[in-house]
Amino acid sequence: MSSDWPLWEVFIRAKGGLSHRHVGSVHAPDSEIALRHARDTYTRRMEGVSLWVVRSADIVASDPSDDAAMFDPAADKVYRHPTFYTIPDDVKHI
């Protein structure tokens, strides 16, 4: 009967120009209080200018046991990277 509130993941934008980054989680009964709790927990030292909270249960994550299928196929597509191409040094602005 003394059960805890649901879990929310907290994301902070440290300053303008940066993406929100995951910093941890809080327990809260609803989204408004979750924002308050995130603010009071994770931004006590001016750590951010913007906050996101997302119910932990709503996050869909890739399965690490699939990571070979998910991520390895990108490994040999070296032609996606600019360094794959050799351009003579005296050709500029390319």
Partner: protein, 275 residues
């Protein structure tokens, strides 16, 4: 809100209410006014700090401590300034730790015991909603120092008021038990609300000079705002009760003496010590 005759307002013939500072002494009046503002923040900050480690969840502990820290910061600025205005070498610490009840000028609302979380939120909601409106006015005070402090504090208090309102709504509209507790909390605090709007010679004198705010000017807005939150919480309007006054003149509830006992014990026991 109740409009029954207050119990211990002295006859208007004194001109100054019960204040010792004569109205033609701007420094005395300003000092007294700063004590009112500073003591409100100090006493409520002290009360909230009693919660540390005992709240319903760790998150709530963090929230309450944040509010307490804001209030103690405000008290430090205001009481330091009061000491300067007084010009007798007292600083914020001297004023906080070496005055007895008769010289404390906070309103009765802030010294009320924490009770349960509902009572604490009732107090916070009724006070912060008022303090925010007061500070908004004071941000335009003719006294530059008060204006600067108010401008900083109003952001803090806006957060306090919003958070408290959210809790009043959740507790009012939560379970049967929480609704009963929320009503009990409001019921306990309601008689101290009229004091927030008490106007006396001192506020009139300072308001005329653009230093203080006349609380009556935002009374209607306050009542509307409080009413809207209570409605959202599904709670009835504040009960009509006979107003209890006196804090601004040093006539407090029994609770303040105990709060001061705890808060002041070290500096009073060891007056020579530096901490």
């Amino acid at each position: 809100m109740a409009s029954l005759p207050p119990i211990d307002i002295p006859p208007a013939t004194t001109g100054n209410g019960a204040f010792d500072a004569p109205a033609d002494d701007p420094n005395g009046a300003l000092f007294d006014y700063l004590l009112r503002l500073g003591d409100d923040s100090l006493v409520l900050g002290q009360r909230l700090s009693e919660w540390t480690g005992h709240a319903a969840s760790v998150e709530v502990d963090l929230s309450l401590a944040n509010i307490a820290l804001d209030l103690i910061g405000q008290a430090t600025l205001l009481l330091d300034y009061a000491g300067e205005v007084e010009g007798r070498g007292r600083d914020g610490d001297k004023l906080a730790f070496h005055r007895d009840v008769l010289d404390f000028r906070n309103c009765l609302l802030v010294e009320q015991p924490n009770g349960d979380f509902a009572q604490t939120m009732a107090r916070q909601f009724l006070f912060s909603t008022w303090q925010r409106r007061l500070l908004r006015h004071l941000a335009g005070s003719a006294d530059a120092r008060i204006a600067a402090i108010a401008e900083k504090a109003v952001k803090e208090v806006t957060y306090h008021a919003e958070l408290a309102a959210e809790w009043v709504i959740r507790l009012g509209d939560g379970t049967e038990e929480s609704r009963r507790r929320m009503m009990d909390g409001l019921e306990w605090m309601a008689r101290f609300v009229p004091e927030l709007f008490e106007a006396d010679g001192l506020t009139a004198f300072l308001a005329e000079r653009g230093v203080a705010a006349d609380p009556d000017s935002f009374r209607a807005d306050y009542e509307e705002e409080v009413g809207a939150v209570l409605a959202a919480a599904g709670l009835p309007l504040l009960p009509q009760q006979r107003p209890i006054l006196g804090g601004r003149r040093g006539h407090h509830s029994e609770h303040l003496g105990h709060l001061l006992c705890t808060m002041q014990f070290l500096p009073r026991t060891y007056p020579e010590a530096v901490w």
